[in-house]
Amino acid sequence: MMGQTTDLFLSMPMPDGWLHFILFVLFGLHLLFVLLMLGTAMMSLIFYLQNKLSSDGVGLSWNRSFIKPHLGLKSIAVVLGVGPLLVMQIIYSYGFYTTTGLYSYSWLAIIPLLIVAFLLIELFEHRMTTGTLLPLTAGVLGLGALLTVPAIFTGVMSLMERPGDWAVFGAHKMGLSELYIPHWLFRYLHVLGAAIVFGAAFHLFVTAKGDQDKKVRMRCWILGGILFQVVVGVPLLISVSSIFNWQVLTAVTVGTAAAMIAAWMMFSGYDSKLGTTCNLLWILPVIFVAMLAARQFLQDSTMIVQNNQVIALQRAQDKDFAQFKSQALKIYQSKLNTIYDNGATIYDGSCSSCHGTTGLGDGPSGRRLLIKPEVLAAVHANRKYLRKLVLEGVEGTGMPYFRMFDGNKIDDLLAEMQSRFAIFSKASSGPKGDKAAAKSIWANTCVTCHGENGAVTEFGSTLHPIPPDLRYYSLSPERSMEIITNGYPGTVMQPYRQLPLATRQGLVDLVASLCDMSAQN
């Protein structure tokens, strides 16, 4: 609902608190499936390599059932990504669009990377048991493409949370800003570590069911993953210490404590199956939610402040623009009512600003041109030739080309010019003048450019603009006389006012006789 505001960016679908809550939940779900998918793909490729390099690996058939859920996990991960993407663009419009805009091509690269990754990992799964080269290549390339995506996402988020660095980042265009490389690197590794922990936990419950060996293997992976998270997590925390607050500290403490409990459970490896499983199912969500909350608190500490500043500016601008709204809508309405599907509208819209509504070459824009627009009311030309002029424009002048109108519209326009200016009818003839004198001037001077019969010479065609082809183009005697006498300003056509009037009249007549209105050139 627009209500009183005119700027759509200021209209919110629901209260901020709800939006933040929804974003937190949806992003959490998305991230969870991303981690499961990443963990599955990474471990599956590692198992495959182990199997190929030594006899001490998991069997291929088990690896196939291990990678099988990947198809579903990645589908859900992608789908669940759309929701937070939507809410993100509502809550943090400014930060989101600015940073994705600054990341430009890297951000866009996510799409082809994901398609390639998904298709290759699918190929890896289906060819795992046949041959080596194809599944190995597909697996390595697919996983490589897949692992690039969280790198880009974490890069964008790191930038988004640092509004102070945007200007610098924008000025240096592209490339990872040195400003937060350490932070970004540890953050990225932390995502990969989490993918191992949660991925292994997923398979502990799903694919390793009832198989003691596999269970032990998964437990080792969980333990290793947690230890890795500690090693990476400490420098990651140091890298954000400047914007620490008590909320972040609380969330991180809770998460770490829960992670330690989980690690101890994996390490002690006591085997009351039910106990371990149930406890782990309780403890993992605690770790996940706590760490996610820490991330959210960090993000909000910079972004909300910055976002509010932008919205305040936006409101001020909106108030200012309100005064122009009614006029903007008036113009919009009149544009909607103007349909360029008939000669009159096209002439008035596209031609008259230079050539004038009455074709006198006196339109408001035309007056500013150094080479004045032609007086259409005086033109009498061959249809085909004129059509080409309209379609191609005239280089060396301001005359644009009009190929953006299809054949029918050009026909309508030409018909309109005929009805307004009789442009395809023969020009009336003026006084005959001194034919002999005119002939000799023509042969000695004019032919240099215009050619014997009016066809532009080789020299003439080096000019800018090229003179018209007088075999197909003529003017009224008055206009012709005007040009011969005073020249065509801005072009090479110079004034010949020193010639006697009779000679000039003869030239006018001679030039008119060259033009063939109906030639099928």
């Binding site: 960016f9 041109l369 280089e395």
Partner: protein
């Protein structure tokens, strides 16, 4: 809001979005809706005892459907968000604020759709023989979710062409339930089913390994579906285009073909007629169970179908004219009010631009000229690629270029006006004049070199 501007060089923004969007439309309509409806239909025939082979056909189609829709279809759909967000944040951001709820609900439908599809796929072997009716319910449940998602999107797409009274009243109901909503829904769903039937015919002809008799039965069914869906598509397209304002629709030939080809006014109607003829022929040969003929007809027909999808989407985009949001924002993401303000009060455009990429290669005047070109024209024109501004301005005089930039709105009705001061317009024109003529060598040209 002022965001960093990104324009794709050479390919241009429009073509970049189009490449992704057309791929997405073909998969989301043709595979996720059309072909999956065929699968649900085949499985239903199996469940109701019409023969085991129906189930086999459905099952063998399912894996490619799942892989293509989840790996390419879904990702290119998200891709539309990514690309529009990077290329037109002001536009897509405004649309999201306006249509948050339909998009959010559509997302829920989409999520449901994918989850049902995965359940359908992972449980097929378990249910096909023992509980065929449960599987049938899953299949049609999926179809319902997919259709809901298609219907929800139609309102937003229709708004961009026929905003109804929204620009004046700003009410959501008018914006969303606009005149082209319903015909577009039917058009998209019917076209999707027709495409799905086409894909199934191709697959039956080229890939099916069962008995000829069974193939013939399946072909007949697909041909029938193709014919009916095709007729509905055609009828709804007629209604749809009758409700689209003629203002920009009249330029559809120019939108679809190159400007040179658009001079031949019979060309596109002829190509479309040929495409329709091929679709009808394919449907009829399939109904007559002619395997070989339909096999070979399938190839040109599917190419023509993809062409028609592209043509439809191109026309639909073009008919928006110079607006991203009708009556609200120009295609270059400049709001109508901002332009009026600049025109009436001579407000500077450059001063309102936060993100002008500095560089140490160009003179400050050229940087300003380029920035103004990007902000005003870059959404549709590239410098040297598709719809190249150089090609259009080459050889024109400087004051000629400046005259053209002054009257873009009248010159071609689908161009937005320049926003900025007269001085800024001259900066831009100067930049473009030098850019367009940078390769023009001042030397006598010979006749034989042509113009």
């Amino acid at each position: 809001m002022n965001f960093p501007l990104l324009h794709i060089p050479w390919l241009g923004d429009g073509m970049t979005i189009a490449l992704d969007a057309v791929l997405h439309v073909v998969i989301s309509h043709g595979v996720a809706i059309g072909l999956t409806i065929m699968v649900a239909l085949f499985q239903t025939l199996h469940a109701t005892g019409k023969g085991r082979f129906w189930g086999d056909i459905a099952h063998s189609l399912l894996l490619p459907i799942v892989i293509i829709t989840t790996s390419v279809g879904a990702v290119t759909g998200v891709g539309i968000w990514f690309i529009t967000g990077a290329l037109a944040p002001g536009g897509i951001g405004s649309l999201i604020h306006l249509f948050f709820w339909p998009w959010f609900i559509e997302w829920l439908a989409f999520t449901t759709e994918v989850i049902i599809l995965l359940i359908y796929y992972y449980n097929w072997d378990r249910l096909a023989e023992s509980k065929p009716y449960t599987l049938m319910l899953l299949g049609w449940g999926y179809v319902v979710a997919a259709l809901i998602s298609a219907v929800l999107i139609s309102g937003i797409l229709g708004f961009m062409l026929t905003p109804d009274g929204w620009p004046w009243n700003g009410t959501f109901v008018q914006a969303y339930f606009n005149p082209t909503f319903l015909p577009q829904c039917i058009l998209r769903i019917a076209a999707g089913i027709a495409l799905g039937a086409m894909f199934a015919i191709g697959w039956l002809g080229w890939r099916y390994h069962g008995a000829d008799k069974n193939r013939g039965q399946a072909l007949r069914l697909c041909g029938l579906v193709l014919l009916i869906a095709g007729i509905v598509t055609g009828a709804s397209a007629v209604i749809y285009f009758s409700r689209v304002p003629e203002t920009f629709l009249t330029h559809w030939r120019y939108a679809v073909a190159t400007s040179k080809l658009a001079q031949f006014t019979w060309l596109l109607p002829l190509v479309n007629a040929v495409a329709v003829l091929f679709i009808v022929l394919t449907a009829v040969t399939a109904m007559l169970r002619l395997r070989r003929t339909s096999m070979f007809l399938f190839i040109p027909t599917i190419i023509l179908c993809l062409g028609m999808v592209t043509e439809f989407e191109r026309v639909r985009e073009f008919v928006r004219g110079p607006y991203l949001l009708p009556g609200y924002m120009f295609a270059n993401q400049i709001k109508l009010e901002q332009w009026v303000a600049a025109r009436k009060e001579g407000r500077s455009m450059l001063k309102s631009m936060k993100w002008i990429a500095a560089n140490d290669v160009q003179a400050p005047a050229a940087v300003a000229g380029k920035a103004l070109f990007d902000a005003n024209c870059g959404a549709c024109h590239t410098l040297d690629g598709l719809n190249s501004i150089s090609q259009r301005l080459r050889g024109r005089t400087l004051e000629g270029v400046n005259a053209i930039t002054a009257i873009t709105q009248q010159l071609a009705p689908f161009m937005p006006p320049f926003t900025g001061t007269d001085q800024e317009r001259l900066s831009m024109s100067t930049y473009l004049y030098y850019y367009a003529n940078k390769d023009v060598v001042l030397r006598p040209r010979l006749m034989k070199e042509g113009k």
